[in-house]
Symmetry: C2
Subunit: 493 residues, 2 copies
């Protein structure tokens, strides 16, 4: 029952006033500590229409430096947004390190509304609950404080407030159609809200049900919970996070050493196959577009292994309006100060589109691991986070193809030397490439671990033997076309 989650006895007016002062004082001190320790805080304001969310939000932020927070009112998703995975809108909004972000209606609002208006199946609902639980946990694991408030008033109280608002033109605009509908279907809504909160009420990220009958008392509950939450999060900030055992179905993969790099293709065969496969792909992409299947192609591999050329042969077959290539460099400051997957969430394709990533989210367990750009705890946790990320994409209906373009050390040396000695290729080779080459063995070890731990049945790695670049291109095109054919066959409608 909504009311019983954490009902605290209400103090008298004087005590409320006194404690509010203390809480605001504490919060104003905390925002500096947050800045110092780079703690990001995501605060969800959910609850009944006319429960006073806006007013209380106004009170809470009074104490905050405007540079430290932002508040967003999320409305129903647009047609464009509906073509992205469910969590995209919410990932997009997560705050930067040291910042507050207030969401006035977030994932709870969207999920429960879709249930109430019968816009989502039981299956979708269950999937979304799972997504939300993983999303919230992953934010917390990555150092976020997530606080979820539900502003609760009784049916009677809501009716009274709506009637009062309706009385004058100055206030009646505040009543939305949904507020009216919600009030007329209060009991039905209650059940759906209660169920949602029960299913997403975890020890680590619980719901705080705010008794919102009195505004000052509601403000105090929010303020004290917020202050206590920041206290705990600041303590947790220096802690490591326990690892999670894998639950995703893995495919047994070979080690890089076991790959036969002698595979090659003749020039004629190459030309013939290339043309054939590209034509096929063009057709398949048209069908995928009509059926709304998104395709995500992730490229990783050794320097000079032939990533660029491989990608080119793929995009050559695609309608430019239907794909985008994302070259992934080291994260910019505004990217680095968010969850490491944020910059990929905001780059996801729409349904029916291709997104091709030239280097990917796997940087975490390769370069970031080896160069010490993240903690050991961070990259060890990442295998599961990456599998979870791709599970979201797969559940959404995406075809996910991950290519490791593979060459041996000698081939790399030959290509580096060639680049160095050929003026028009010199831009392609940097000191960093040589430095990375020195760490070949460490990289090989990291790549073997990555491939073993993230080759799930729904998003396996494909190793492209690229000593012969042409062979690798044909193999990539074959895998893309075959996977698309399979996905088209499985997708109804």
């Amino acid at each position: 029952m909504i009311e019983t989650y954490n009902a605290i006895p209400k103090p008298d007016t004087d005590e409320i006033k006194q404690r509010l002062e203390i809480a605001h004082q504490r919060l104003s001190e905390q925002q500096l500590l947050m800045k110092d320790s780079k703690l990001p805080v995501l605060i969800l304001f959910e609850g009944w229409g006319a429960a006073g969310k806006g007013t209380i939000l106004g009170q809470v932020i009074k104490t905050l430096d405007p540079r430290f927070f932002s508040a967003v009112s999320l409305h129903d998703p647009s047609t464009e947004e509906k073509r992205k995975p469910f969590l995209t809108r919410f990932y997009t909004e997560i705050p930067e390190a040291g910042q507050f972000k207030f969401l006035d209606v977030g994932w709870m609002g969207e999920i429960t509304k879709d249930v109430l208006f019968e816009r989502s199946s039981k299956h979708t609902y269950k999937n979304r609950i799972g997504s939300v639980l993983r999303f919230e946990r992953s934010l917390t694991d990555n150092g976020y404080l997530v606080l979820k408030f539900f502003f609760h008033i009784s049916h009677k109280e809501q009716s009274k407030r709506l009637a009062a608002l309706a009385e004058s033109k100055d206030t009646s605009w505040q009543i939305s159609d949904f507020d009216v509908w919600e009030n007329e279907h209060y009991d039905e809504c209650y059940k759906v809200y209660d169920k949602f909160m029960e299913e997403t009420n975890t020890s680590t990220i619980p719901w705080y049900v705010i008794d919102a009958k009195s505004k000052k008392w509601a403000e105090l509950q929010v303020m004290e919970t917020l202050v206590a939450g920041i206290d705990v999060a600041l303590k947790n900030h220096t802690l490591t996070v326990p690892l999670i055992q894998n639950i995703f179905p893995l495919i047994k993969m070979p080690k890089l050493k076991e790959i036969d790099l002698k595979k090659s293709i003749s020039d004629e065969e190459y030309k013939l196959e290339l043309k054939e496969l590209q034509t096929k792909l063009r057709n398949l992409h048209n069908q995928a577009y009509r059926k709304g299947i998104p395709i995500i192609v992730a490229y990783e591999g050794w320097d000079a292994a032939g990533k660029g050329g491989n990608i080119k042969r793929l995009t050559a077959a695609l309608d430019p309006r239907g794909y985008i290539v994302h070259p992934i460099a080291s994260p910019k400051p505004f990217e680095k100060s968010r969850h490491h997957l944020w910059r990929f969430w905001i780059r996801l394709p729409k349904t029916g589109h291709f997104a091709i990533f030239d280097r990917t989210w796997y940087g975490r367990v390769m370069v970031e691991r080896l160069e010490g750009f993240c903690s050991e705890n961070d990259w060890q946790r990442a295998y599961n986070e990456l599998n979870e990320f791709e599970k979201e994409l797969s559940d959404w209906g995406a075809v996910i193809l991950k290519f490791w373009i593979h060459i041996d050390k000698d081939t790399q040396l030959a290509r580096f030397t060639d680049r160095q000695n050929t003026p028009e290729k010199q831009w392609k080779i940097t000191d960093e490439d040589w430095r990375n080459r020195e760490k070949w063995d460490l990289y090989e070890q990291a790549v073997d671990e990555m491939i073993a731990k993230t080759s799930t049945t729904y998003a396996p790695w494909h190793i492209l033997e690229s000593n012969d670049k042409k062979y690798a291109r044909i193999k990539a095109l074959k895998i893309v076309t075959e996977s698309l054919e399979k996905a088209l066959k499985e997708k109804k409608g």
Copy 2:
């Protein structure tokens, strides 16, 4: 759906054999590492009747040193066990550090059976799910590896196996009445099992659904999950655990400094009230016994504050068959090597009984904190663990009374000196008492924090002013009788 949790493609017979050998080899190495790092592992074997749990358990333990594991078949709870909180049977069975414990049917079995036979209400079911989630999380937070296996076979397969077992007298005894019932109600059971697993399937302690059609393949799934789980747990063993923000309703409490210790009572008044209150308590206990209300009284306080005498005045009113006093000293090795609350779980009263604790589970946030007997992370996490523990007891229907017997520093000195100078009291004073006294200020700080963070509405602290011991005794008796009266009024039937 049960099947889809983590279905892995089944390898061929040769590969199964090969991988089984590797897994057994790894496990036999791991048991020594486990011993060294004191990792306890609790393994739940749940699943369909005739799914082969016993056979596979037999295979798994073949690799283990008999000193390192034990296996228990839990049957339906006895009448005695039903008079304890639901989790008691399972807490009792948790392994010691460095040990494996296999539970052949655990909390899932009991909860789902009660649903199937309509022995538990929806409310009870929900409460139990919450209890289980907290139980599993708390074990993990305290360094346990918890692995939950569900052995899955289809209805057809189960029917086939039961028929085969029934054919001969040598095997037919293996079929239980419940196996037959389960087979006849397979679809109904499926729904209940699936729902339970879905509701208790968390990222950190997931269900592993074992495809149990082929025994060797089932064994491999169990073995590889077990080995991977121990790998992760060994890595986590050195990590700290993030703190959890409080969700329990707290009562605002005064600091010890603010307590007025001048309160006293005259001798006549004391005698009169004592007699009256003890008679009243005797009556109330009879009623509580008949209504099955358990009462837990927890005593903490300064050395020489008068705990012993206070407890005596309480027990004097009780039927000796209806109460037990547990003096709590520092934990014995077999207690220290388990979850810190284990030794209290096994000392809980039956319904209708009193359990009086002379020192308590709060040692964690007092002496263990101050003497460094546990890590900072341990005692910081404990406030929530203690609130959760008492929530279990409160949900079970227990009256929980926590007394802090309070005196000032001068009074303690006077009593210490008196003990030192009176031959028949000398046994009551030790060097440790003097050492603790030197840390008075640190203790006071810890006690203030403890009282502030664990005075929940369902189990608040009561501060007994005990400069006048008689005053404190009367106050304790008043609180016990009033609380019992209230509980009796609220309890129907």
